[in-house]
């Protein structure tokens, strides 16, 4: 990073639960200047002002209309992402918006198109794609180390952060969907979703989401904010090896099991033999870097280079597509929603 460069001047909207993490990172990154913080809560603004000595305002147009602001960072509740991102893009700003990009495919598409038209960078905060452990697994899968990929499943549960505006699907599952799409490099063919609204009656606190990928590869996702144990775990099962990614493990987050099973013999005559093996377990050393810092730096680099960010608008739209299909399945009692058809209807 050439420190001679003019810093990218950033205004951040939203300083609630997650916003402070973004603000801290953009404040500390060379090449950026955290110039403005926008929030409805005066206490939040006072706190931010003290920490970062930035300007603050409760009025969004203050930053939209300010030509000195290059980029907007949006860390507000999910239902406001679309409208705020649209306003920012229309004002010609680069945008980093927290996940999910939008609450519908149509909205997401509009934002992607608008960013292209405006010629600005649009990036979505799918932070897991910047996590070293996830990248390690991606590399192992990509290199064929696991053999044939059979299926994967994920559990991300905890007690807390109960939401009342969006359900656990939209609030938590974007992480798992993002990782799954990143690993498999394609969209599922169909999506099924079940959930239970225990507290509110309208907002699902627990979600079981099934993604049907081409080649009969299944991905199952279980998320909840109403669970006794903090768990963030994904298992990837292949014919030759299997990987468990435990994000809350103290000793090595990734385990590679030299375990597998495949079929021998001739299926035509119904004579199958299954060959199982069970070998060593490897816990690779993976460097700990703060993924959020990588993510924020990547946003700055993308603005400077003009290149598409890893988690660009298209990427964010794909996650929204799966979420929206999952929501429709949920609304229809778990019916299997085929994505191709669903996307056409959304068109």
């Amino acid at each position: 990073m050439n420190s001679q460069l003019k810093p990218i001047r950033i205004a951040q909207i939203g300083y609630g639960y997650w916003g402070p993490n973004l603000a801290r990172n953009f404040y500390q990154l060379p090449g950026a200047e955290l110039a403005y913080l926008v929030d409805a809560n005066p206490d939040a603004l006072a706190k931010a002002e003290q920490l970062y000595r930035c300007q603050t305002t409760r009025v969004i147009t203050d930053v939209l209309d300010d030509p000195a602001i290059d980029a907007l960072v949006i860390a507000t509740p999910a239902r406001s992402h679309y409208a705020l991102t649209k306003m920012a893009l229309l004002a010609g700003k680069h945008v980093f918006v927290e996940k999910p990009l939008a609450m519908s495919i149509a909205e997401g598409r509009e934002l992607v198109t608008l960013a292209a038209t405006q010629g600005v960078t649009l990036m979505v905060g799918h932070v897991f794609e910047y996590i070293p452990a996830v990248r390690y697994i991606k590399a192992a899968v990509g290199a064929g180390e696991l053999g044939d990929l059979y299926y994967l499943y994920s559990r991300r549960v905890n007690l807390g952060r109960v939401q009342s505006d969006v359900n656990a699907l939209w609030s938590i599952a974007p992480h798992d969907i993002s990782i799954a799409l990143y690993l498999l490099e394609q969209l599922p063919e169909a999506v099924s979703c079940h959930g239970a609204a225990c507290l509110h009656g309208q907002v699902e606190d627990v979600i079981f989401l099934t993604l049907h990928f081409p080649g009969n590869v299944l991905c199952h996702i279980h998320v909840s904010w109403l669970d006794p144990s903090k768990t963030r775990e994904m298992t990837v099962v292949g014919s030759r090896k299997m990987i468990v990614y435990d994000d809350v493990s103290a000793e090595g987050k990734v385990r590679i099991y030299d375990k597998g099973a495949y079929r021998k013999g001739d299926p035509i005559y119904g004579e199958f033999q299954y060959k199982l093996h069970s070998g060593d377990i490897l816990i690779p050393r993976i460097d700990m870097r703060e993924p959020l810092q990588e993510e924020c730096a990547h946003f700055l680099e993308s603005i400077r280079s003009g290149a598409k960010p890893l988690t660009d608008g298209e990427n964010g739209l794909r996650v929204v597509t799966v979420l929206a299909a999952g929501q429709q399945s949920l609304d229809r009692g778990g019916a299997k929603i085929f994505l191709e058809e669903f996307m056409q209807q959304a068109g």
Copy 2:
């Protein structure tokens, strides 16, 4: 047990994977005599003969026609349960049959009716209902200790015991279904099921089963024989407490979390407040008894007393009903199968 009583003379059919455990228990129990073992494999018979000094045969009619045999224990592959149980009941024998009772509702009903007509005891080997930890949880749920029951989920996975005649739903999930029905004391209203046939193409190795109980209580079951980690875990979430039952834990299989969440305020005006609490965790001391021994003793007692066993034919039929509905959902791509309608069609 009055040891003066004439022992119940038992013939066991099947001495493969699970059979030896049953044979050992019936051999050791007072009040029973393991008189006969039936298996197609002469090596298995030789081994059993040496251990238990019982008669052996490869011909089932040898034991069916033997008036000295009081009861049959059936530990054969799942697809043979119905036919063997029917033959045994028709021969006037009491029957202990391993789970599942049958492969269809119609078959299951026929067996239940036949046992009643014949006036003999029919018991299904749903062993988890005899496990002290499960009974402890049942008592806690029954006493209202958890508050409102929100949902429960279960994972029973491992690498191994790959089947080629029945899928993981029929092979593994009977345990979890049996526990869920035991805890909730009712049938689900509907069932949804997804799975992946990774090895064989026809036989699902991994199953995700969702049971929709009355009152919006969800039960989710994940079973597989193609997984890196041996896991046997069930979580029960209530408004006041939550329980985790980890059957492979070395230090206490049951954990009671004094954790919960409930809604405060007036839902009409959309003003919700969620009250979360997070207190102590208790790992109760639960005596270790061999559940199989309890189960086998219960079979003998039921024969003597003429009382219905805890896991009688009706109980086994309810599990079959859920399995059959799950299979239909699986066949229909995860469609929600409503049990009332489904049972009528099966009629």
Copy 3:
């Protein structure tokens, strides 16, 4: 804390490994003003200046001679604690010094006396006595919940923070000794110590320290910076209950085992019976507070009130006494050092 009060003006000496944690806390605490930072390293000073906008200097007399400085916080290498603390006390400053207070009993005594003569507060940074989990255990032991206290043992090991000026006894064991003295409220009668100097040949990387308390209560401490696993664990064994304190556990740091053993019968005739019991395990909810903040606040309060801090000079001297006896045992090949005699010789 009455914010109208004139703030206590603090100068901190040392901004290396641990110093930044202290500086951050004193900076944030109401009632204190972090006025000065002293360090030999200009980079450290520049960093501190930026974060805390305080004065900086490499010359200690700058702060000793400054009448506006009320208190000194000393976070330098162990071997400098005595000299710096003495200078600060002579200059009439209140002193917070990191553990250990000094490297010998004579030095420690001198500092305790000097603080009394000068009428200033002297506090030692034995932070574990401010940790909620340790206080919880102290309360349980104090209330007799464990029955007779049989013995306790501790392991504090990791890979890293290799020292070359002091061994693992002086570097790590002060924590465990501090906790043991806090729990047992007395000095041991004797001390034995073994160690291995693997890397350096002169400086022990691993230490096994045994404290012999009155009433045949044993305390064993194992510390090392050359170990594969990060472990911070203490076990307290009583006749009725046992406690394990695992400081790196994610789910509850304290476990209370309703386990115990005691002797029944008449020892005169050599007829013993041991009654063992093994009941529930309780993981109590203990609030997480930053102990360092409590410790720093306690220093400020002690200065204002003039009351002796919990970990005052006497407290720090007792830890030094055990350390010095341990060192002598180490020097004499593990010989048992009796404290009464040892303290007289130190005299």
Copy 4:
């Protein structure tokens, strides 16, 4: 094993806690015949008779005088090992005796000499030397995989099996001493021992034993039968790698840490640099075999071949030597006992 060979006819003395395991193995092994069981308890004899259809007696001379008995298996309390082994050797029988071989060096030497004189096999039941995990570690250490061996430590604790005739040193530590001597292939130069007699007042329930090996390699052993947690763990620390052997782990008992530390630079000028590295962790697949079966088979093979068993009398005597020195250290308040001198005095 040539099954044509005349079976080795075995009489076992002692059928209490551990005896049934040995009897079962010798009963099942080809080439052996469990001919006789000797115990003072008629219930034990009745049980053994039923299981193994062997002769039983309460009179030891019945088996000593029986020329058809080739070998004696001694599984009685520790204090009787010497006398019974001596009687058996004098009667010309091969002897397998549980650990410890004897309660003093002199006794142990006498048995070793007597076995040689009589030309029979004498084997001690140090079962850990037959455990695949221990052999794996032995191979790794032997191959230099760990670099320089720095130190090792072991913890073997649990609640239960309280003894009143021998302390935890003699009852539990033989396992750890046996493993340590096996790994290091030499005797320690000196031994120090501390303990606490919590229950009885005379019999130590908890023991901390330090073995000082040549080259400043330390081995520390902590054993107890009065502990909340079942732990059987040994850590071996080398300059290049470290190994943790956790015998109660469900997922891989051995972990190899690619972690280490060594010194760089010139010690003369006191300028040290420590190079630490921390890489992958490997959990190797180690086949599970019942070590007791291997041990028993090895006894039979040794009798047939006339070769010295791995854990022969000399091996058992070395363990007794360390135990006896540990006991003397314990009696002398933890004084360091130098083995060379100690063995001469024992002479």
